[in-house]
Amino acid sequence: MFTIKDVKASIDEKEILKGISLELKPGEVHAIMGPNGSGKSTLAKVIVGHPDVEDPEGEICIDDKNILDLEPDERANEGVFLAFQYPVDIPGVNNAEFLRMAYNAKQKYHGKEEIDPFDFNELVKDKLKVLKMKERFLERPVNHGFSGGEKKRNEILQLLVLDPKVVILDETDSGLDIDSLKQVSEAVNYFKSQDKIILLITHYQRLLNYIVPDYVHIMNDGKVSKTGDKSLALTLEEKGYEGIES
């Protein structure tokens, strides 16, 4: 269970989120849609603990644990994973090593044994196969010199390896060609089948052709203005954000 309770947040002294509440159950896919500036990206920032967000109010709970006061890395280790809209590159840091560091950080957090490079390699290789990615990919520096599509697929690889409870995809469909989009969707649907909680943040309906949401929330001016099922997204596509509000 992932609950967002009356969350308010400001950036640069401007209130962006004005009280958002959502409740997401395992195995559910929720889509958050909204025009530019509606606050949907800020919601992702609040959840992961982005330093730009000033003194957020409310509660964000995984099961019954409030994570809003935790450091970003602690939140991640509690099971929150954000697939970034613009994944950051880290020159000189090997992708495989980075992944293993992240994996071991989580193991350690939960008091489990850290994994050695050989066993880890086996684990990653399996995931690479799922994503039809080449092993060479692991030897490159994190996101450095990656194409837009490669970056997004790298996010999904991390997602599969780190196996979180809550998955947030922030505009993951932007900049993706159709093949990559299908692969990403497959991975997400697999996660849904594993009883994970999935939150899609998207501007367009396109991604929802591949990942069918259980709920669609429309955000406007820092609040959820409408909630419905997948048909809401289609209505939105047809009428636009303005049409749906009236």
Binding site: H50, P72, D73, F81, F84, G92, V93
Partner: protein, 480 residues
């Protein structure tokens, strides 16, 4: 916690700051011709070495301390330093078993085993404690291959012709103030000779330890690689924590003949002074230079500079032989009150000579980090090439990073490219790592290590891991 509030919190203790309690034989503080004669006598040196010393001393008296480096320190009183300090010993060592157990323990503690076949199984070590060499491992095994690896004092005795021929041939005593001082009072250092057509079968390493208070360390290293020979050499250093600054003015000379290949790596971790007050620490004023005398010879410097209160050093290459190659790979990390003015000189004289410079400077805390480098391509060096890249990373608002290249090209068939950039650890990078579960400290270390990866990969594998760990130690609690 936010990167906006970068503040250097300095509380990680220097790991190697302990002092070994051992009886030390000292020559009275101060410097004059009698002291030099005494040092020479203690080392049982032949006449030519004493003359070399005295000539240098007389020249040094006429010289002035350089003021151009961008470092500040109070004037050094050269009469307030012991120029010789040695742990007392009875007789000449016959085997490793004769080494004072207290000294053995000291080096164990520093991670340098003096027993062969220990942790670093494929590395021969010369351990130098203050002014004398305590032990050299694998000497006999190396000699079977014709490779000489011994303390300089022993080389003076056993191979005087080689020493006479090459000592001072790369760094003359007139070169600079600290090189002249070293030539006058040098005490110990390592000597390496690799004969023709020989690949040195193992890594050679010298480990320097300053222990006695108020002493300077003035070691002198000489490495000669004959035709078609090659060697990889590593230098490591630590010192105890004292409130007073200590002077380390070493000279390193490398000579590479035709097709010879010398790789010289340094992991420098001298005591950097008190993190909070900047009190104490080593003044590391070192002259390192290699001469590519032969055709197609190659000299490659790799340095990881993390310690010292002040670092002043420019490992250089004089590319005389046609088609010779010079390389310089450097990571210089300064934190707290540290100051570093370091870089290289590449002097192209032979035809088609090539040089590469990769320098990564990281400044944190209130430190000052300067890259200073000269690339000079002479008229005779037709068809030569240089590529230089020096990047700086600044962590926190109170540090300084400088880049001062000097470029001088004098012929129309050579090419030179220099680029420099500042790199910032971005909030986004840190958050990205944290979002994947990696802690703030680890995130910073990871990003900095990535920044330095081009240099780390030049280190012998045994030491690459050590360097990475050292860096993370030095950076701990830098972001808060």
């Amino acid at each position: 916690m936010s990167l906006k509030e970068f503040e250097a919190i300095a509380n990680k203790e220097y790991e190697y700051g302990f002092k070994t309690d051992i009886k030390t034989e000292l020559i009275e503080k101060g410097l004059n011709e009698d002291v030099i004669r005494l040092i020479s006598e203690k080392n049982k040196e032949p006449e030519f070495v004493l003359e070399f010393r005295l000539k240098a001393y007389r020249h040094w008296l006429k010289m002035e301390e350089p003021e151009w480096p961008l470092v500040d320190y109070p004037k050094i009183d050269y009469q307030d330093i012991h120029y010789y300090a040695a742990p007392e010993k009875k007789e000449k060592l016959k085997s490793m078993d004769d080494v004072d157990p207290e000294l053995k323990r000291t080096f164990e503690k520093l991670g340098i085993p003096l027993q062969e076949q220990k942790k670093l199984a494929n590395v021969a070590v010369d351990a130098i404690f203050d002014s004398v060499s305590v032990a050299t491992t694998y000497k006999d095994k190396l000699l079977k291959h014709g490779v000489v690896f011994c303390p300089l004092s022993e080389a003076v005795e056993k191979y005087p012709d080689l020493v006479k021929k090459y000592m001072g041939s790369v760094v003359p005593h007139t070169d600079n103030f600290f090189a002249a001082l070293n030539a006058a009072v040098f005490t110990e250092g390592s000597f390496v000779y690799v004969p023709k057509d020989t690949v040195c079968p193992m890594e050679l390493s010298t480990y320097f330890r300053i222990n006695a208070e108020d002493t300077g360390q003035f070691e002198r290293t000489l490495i000669i690689c004959e035709e078609n020979a090659s060697v990889s050499y590593l230098e490591g250093c630590t010192a105890p924590m004292f409130d007073k600054n200590q002077l380390h003015a070493a000279v390193v000379e490398l000579v590479a003949l035709d097709n010879a290949d010398i790789k010289y790596s340094t992991v420098q971790n001298w005591y950097a002074g008190d993190p909070k007050t900047g009190k104490g620490g080593i003044y590391n004023f070192v002259t390192k230079r290699g001469k590519c005398l032969g055709k197609k010879s190659k000299i490659s410097w790799t340095q990881i500079e993390t310690g010292s209160a002040i670092t002043w050093k420019y490992p250089s290459c004089i590319l005389m032989g046609d088609d010779s190659i010079g390389e310089f790979y450097s990571v210089a990390l300064t934190n707290h009150h540290q100051q570093a003015d370091t870089g290289t000189k590449m002097i192209h004289i032979g035809k088609r000579t090539k040089s590469t410079i990769i320098s990564k400077g990281i400044s944190a805390g209130k430190s000052k980090n300067t890259y200073r480098g000269l690339v000079q391509i002479n008229k005779s060096a037709k068809g030569s090439e240089n590529f230089t890249q020096c990047d700086s990373m600044l962590i926190g608002p109170n540090c300084t990073a400088n880049t001062f290249p000097y470029i001088d090209v004098r012929n129309a068939s050579s090419t030179l490219g220099h680029e420099a950039a500042t790199v910032k650890v971005s909030e986004e990078q840190i958050l990205y790592c944290q979002q994947r579960g990696i802690s703030l400290d680890d995130a910073l270390t990871t990003i900095v290590n990535g920044f330095c990866s081009d240099v780390f990969k030049e280190l012998p594998t045994e030491f690459a891991v050590e360097a990475t760990q050292l860096l993370s130690l030095k950076l701990e609690n830098t972001v808060g």
